[in-house]
């Protein structure tokens, strides 16, 4: 996960599973912390029937915010914790001729 700046907007670029790219605004919906300066990893999962079998779901890239550790799904920015409706803003991203392009839409650069 790399953080880049475009004008006043900071964006975290996530690369996952080789060639999957996601872009998230580096502002945490919890308290405004630098969410993309935290950690990127797979989602920890388990079933209550067998807590010993703690596992990871590699299909779910998870960003853990640098401040209070709240988790967000890198693909859509949604909070991972059930019951939370918070969401990190995400942006469309694509690669053109080896360059990663992030569409900030109408965000003021």
């Amino acid at each position: 996960m790399t953080v880049v700046r475009a004008g006043r907007v900071e964006v975290g670029i996530v690369r996952w599973d080789g060639d999957q790219l996601y872009a998230l605004r580096n502002v945490c919906p919890h308290a405004g912390g630098p969410v993309c300066r935290g950690r990127l990893g797979p989602r920890i999962v388990a079933s209550a029937a067998d807590p010993l079998a703690l596992d990871v779901d590699d299909a779910c890239p998870t960003v853990t915010c640098a401040w209070h550790g709240w988790e967000f799904d890198a693909r859509d920015g949604r909070a991972v914790a059930p019951g939370s409706r918070l969401r990190v803003r995400t942006y469309p991203v694509r690669v053109e001729e080896g360059t990663v392009l992030v569409d900030l839409g109408r965000a003021r650069a």
């Binding site: 209550a48 988790e71 914790a81």
Partner: protein, 363 residues
């Protein structure tokens, strides 16, 4: 004044003397308890760390014929069941509530069995159709406690399993206790958790966090702490994921602590979900779906407006179940509680919520 039907979820019925349990013990345990009729029988309940200097009973609840408060059905009728429309009352034992405080786990299990048989024979024979009972569970040996619940849980007047004393010094969500919840779910019975289960010297536990307090006043003020611990533990350990039909009734811990714990719990879960990834919902959602709370002792706020605001915040209308705690010193009077909660909630809090919890609708 509410004049509708009432379910009282916490009535402490007691034996006139612990000797009445003797016929319910096996020969071996009877000999153990009495030492061949010696003058120093085994106490059923070890001493509390903090005795109430005024005693734990209402002064007017002592039966004339002797025995402790709660042991006379006639007086209970006169003071509680008769004056109000108590249509169903849940009996939660007197001295027996805390029998799992016995350090000897085998003795505790035998006592629980004897106490349950005594309760069924003397209070749940249907001669007072309003009375329902709990199965007291000695949880030092959770597998035994589950067996005991299965033994009598099918009785038509046994309405819940009762956990009070913390027999192994672990919060109640610990997997060691899960066999009890498995049995309860299987039987369709809620588990009632009565506060103050850490109050006995034999438990080697402090009844509150951060050390053993000095006075009963400290202990009693902080009694909700133990219930908070059990609640958080049960949710964190995924008890309600594992046993999705299990319901729990928290008894005698008051209500004002609920928003503080739930809000903090939900917030912390967002940052610490990785520790309990088996939870599929926010902690507070498990609470609202699976847990109900008895009213007593309902906190009295400096102003009624503030009290109402707090009760509204926690959705009290849907989660509170009235309890008197008769015949204890901190009992709540039905009329008084009626004045302290909005009239629009009376029917649910005094009756409907408990009826739903115990599966009594249509029964």
């Amino acid at each position: 004044m509410y004049s509708g039907p009432i379910v009282d979820c916490d009535i402490h019925h007691d034996w006139p003397s612990q000797d009445v349990l003797l016929p319910y013990l096996s020969a071996g345990w009877r000999e153990y308890a009495t030492r061949s009729g010696g003058r120093q029988p085994m106490p059923v309940i070890p001493s509390e760390v903090h005795p109430n200097p005024g005693g734990v009973f209402r002064d007017d609840a002592w039966p004339q014929e002797g025995g402790p408060p709660g042991s006379s059905h006639a007086l209970m009728e006169e003071q509680l069941l008769g004056p109000y429309r108590v249509e169903r009352g849940l009996l939660t034992f007197g001295a027996g509530t805390y029998l799992a405080a016995n350090a000897n786990p085998y003795w505790a299990a035998e006592l629980a069995r004897a106490a349950n048989d005594w309760s069924i024979e003397h209070w749940l024979d249907g001669s007072d159709a309003r009375l329902y009972g709990t199965a007291i569970l000695a949880n030092q040996l959770p597998e035994e406690a589950a067996r005991e619940l299965r033994r009598i849980g099918g009785h038509p007047r046994v309405a819940a399993g009762l956990l009070a004393t913390n027999g192994i010094g672990k919060p109640f969500g610990h997997p060691l206790f899960h066999p009890i919840y498995e049995a309860a779910e299987e039987l369709g019975l809620p588990i009632a958790i009565h506060a103050a289960g850490e109050s006995f010297a034999s438990m080697r536990l402090s009844p509150v966090g951060s050390g053993v307090p000095s006075l009963y006043l400290e202990h009693h003020t902080l009694i909700p702490q133990g219930i908070m611990t059990h609640l958080v533990s049960m949710i964190v350990h995924g008890v309600f994921e594992k046993f999705p039909r299990l319901r729990v009734l928290l008894m005698e811990a008051g209500v004002a602590w609920i928003p503080a714990v739930l809000w903090r719990f939900d917030m912390d879960f967002r940052g610490l979900r990785r520790e309990a990834p088996w939870l599929k919902r926010a902690p507070s959602e498990y609470f609202y779906e699976h847990v109900r709370v008895t009213t007593q002792p309902l906190e009295i706020a400096p102003s009624r407006r503030h009290m109402l605001g707090l009760l509204e915040l926690i959705g009290a209308e849907d989660i509170l179940c009235f309890s008197s705690d008769y015949p204890h010193w901190d009992t709540d009077d039905i009329a008084d509680i009626g004045r302290n909660i909005p009239e629009a909630w009376h029917r649910k809090v005094f009756h409907d919520n408990a009826m739903e919890l115990f599966g009594w609708n249509g029964a």
